[in-house]
Point group: C2
Chain length 274, copies 2
C-alpha cells in the first residue's frame, strides 16, 4: 500500500491527526531506560492513537551505530499499518540523492521522508521516483531562523511580482507532484504562512511541527492548515508526549498526553467546520 | 589543531588543493573488494597528494550499519595530519542541529562538515559553536537543479536592490563567521557565480566540487576561485580519481590521477598569477 493510503487509513482507524515524533533524548527519558525499550514502550502505548510515527535521525546518529541499530529495531517493532516518516531532511545532488533515497526507503524501510529543497529538482526527484513513498519538502520550517532565507521576497521568472521563497518552494512542489506523493513541512509557529500554503496547495498533505514545546498556536494551526475532509494535515508532536512523565509509568503518561492532543485537535477541527 | 590550520598545513606539506571524495560505489569499484579495503588502499596511495578527504555519508548510509562501520574504520585509518570533511549536508532546527553536530564532530570525529543553510541561523549555529571544526555552507551547488532556488533574484531588507539567493547566503555566511570557521560550497560548474562569491568573501575557504565527471571547467574554476595565496580554494574530485582503473592496480592508478590533478591545478594557479 502506498504512503498516502496507509496514512489516510491510519487517520481514519485511529481518528487521529497526531504524528508522534520518536526522538529519544537520554536526558529527558526515565533513568536506566535504553532507547529501544523506551521506544517500544511508547509505541505499544500509542499505536492506536496516532496516524504516523516520525523518528528524527539526528537523535539516533548522535549515538553512533548503537543508536542506528536501535532505530532499525524500533522500525521493526512499529505495527505494519502505522506509517513511519523518517525525518532526515536530506538533500544532495542527483546521484547522491539517489543513495540517500535508497538508504531511507530501502535500508531503513521508511514509508516517507523529509527532504530539503535547497539543491533543486535533481536533488528531490530520486525521492519522488519511489512512487509508493511520501516526500515532505521543507517549505516553511518552525524555527526562528526560518525567516533568514525562507521569507526573502523573490522574483521568480515564471510569476509576476514578488513572493517569499517558501511560496516558490510550495509552487515547485505542486509542479513536481506528478505521482501524488509530495507533501510539505510547514511550522505551526507561522500560522499566516500556513494558511497561504494551504490555499496554494489544497490537496497536499502538510506535516505541521511546532505545536507543544515550540509553542505554535494549535487552534490557529488547525484552522489554517486543515482541508475540508480533515485528512491532509498531520500535527507532529514529540517532547510533549514522550516526556509527559519521567517515572516508571512514563508510557501510560505518554498515552494520556497523546489522547489529549488527539481530542484537542479533533474538537478544534469539528468546531472549525461551518 | 583547528580545521583551518590543519587544512593549510596539509595544503602546504603536499603542495595540493585536491580534496579527494571518498565515495565508494560498488558498481565502479574493482570486483571482490569491500569498501573498507578499497578506501584504505586509496588513502594509502594518496595521502601525500591531497589536502583533505571528503567522504559523502550517502554512500555509506545506503549500505546500512555495515557501510557506517566501514566509514568509521576509514576515518580511523586516515593519517592524523590530513583533515576529513564529512560531506553530510545536514540541516535541522536548533535542538536537532545540535545532535547532528555532535554526531558528525564527536561520534564520527570529522574535522569539518557541509551544512544546508535553508533553515537559517539556528540550524547552523550549533555547528559553528565547535570553533575548531570547519563548517561549509552550501551556497551555489554544482548540480543542474541548483538554479531552481539558488539563483532566484531576492530582495533582502538589508540590501538595496536584488541579488540571487546564493549571494544572500554568502553574505549571511560572512556575518556568521565570528570564529573564522565558515567556508562555502560553490560548484565549478558555475564559474561566474564562483567569481562573484570569491569577490564577496575574499578570505573564506571555498570547497569547489563539480570538476571531472560533472564537467566543470577547471581552468575557469581556478582563475575565479583562487585567492592571492592559493590556499583558500580546494577542489573536490571523486570518481575521476577513485575509479581511474577497475583492475587490481586501482590504487596506483588513483595515485596517478590524483597526482595529475594536483599538477594541473598548481600549473593553472601559477600561470594565473600576475
Amino acid at each position: 500500500m502506498n504512503f498516502t493510503d496507509k496514512l489516510h487509513k491510519a487517520i481514519e482507524r485511529n481518528t487521529s491527526l497526531v504524528c508522534l515524533g520518536l526522538d529519544p533524548d537520554l536526558e529527558l527519558m526515565p533513568p536506566d531506560t535504553d532507547i529501544l525499550s523506551f521506544n517500544k514502550s511508547i509505541v505499544d502505548a500509542t499505536s492506536d492513537l496516532v496516524c504516523a510515527y516520525k523518528p528524527n535521525l539526528a537523535f539516533y546518529e548522535a549515538l553512533g551505530l548503537d543508536g542506528l541499530t536501535a532505530l532499525m529495531n524500533t522500525i521493526e517493532h512499529i505495527p505494519e499499518d502505522v506509517p513511519i516518516i523518517g525525518d532526515a531532511k536530506r538533500g544532495d545532488i542527483g546521484n547522491t540523492a539517489r543513495l540517500y533515497a535508497k538508504a531511507l526507503f530501502e535500508t531503513f524501510g521508511f514509508d516517507a521522508t523529509t527532504v530539503n529543497p535547497y539543491l533543486g529538482y535533481d536533488a528531490v526527484e530520486p525521492f519522488l521516483s519511489y512512487r509508493d513513498k511520501g516526500v515532505f519538502l521543507l517549505c516553511r520550517t518552525s524555527n526562528p531562523g526560518a525567516s533568514d532565507f525562507q521569507s526573502l521576497p523573490c522574483s521568480p521568472s515564471d510569476a509576476s511580482g514578488q513572493e517569499p521563497l517558501f511560496s516558490v518552494v510550495a509552487r515547485k512542489a505542486r509542479q513536481w507532484n506528478q505521482h501524488g506523493n509530495v507533501g510539505l513541512v510547514v511550522g505551526a509557529t507561522y500560522p499566516e504562512e500556513l494558511a497561504q500554503i494551504r490555499m496554494s496547495c489544497p490537496d497536499m498533505v502538510l506535516l505541521v511541527p511546532g505545536i507543544g514545546a515550540q509553542q505554535g498556536d494549535l487552534a490557529l494551526a488547525v484552522r489554517h492548515g486543515l482541508d475540508a475532509k480533515g485528512e491532509k494535515t498531520i500535527f507532529a508532536s514529540s517532547r510533549q508526549i514522550l516526556y509527559a512523565s519521567k517515572d516508571k509509568e512514563f508510557a501510560q503518561a505518554a498515552r494520556q498526553a497523546a489522547e489529549q492532543l488527539r481530542t484537542e485537535i479533533n474538537s478544534l477541527f469539528n468546531s472549525a467546520e461551518p
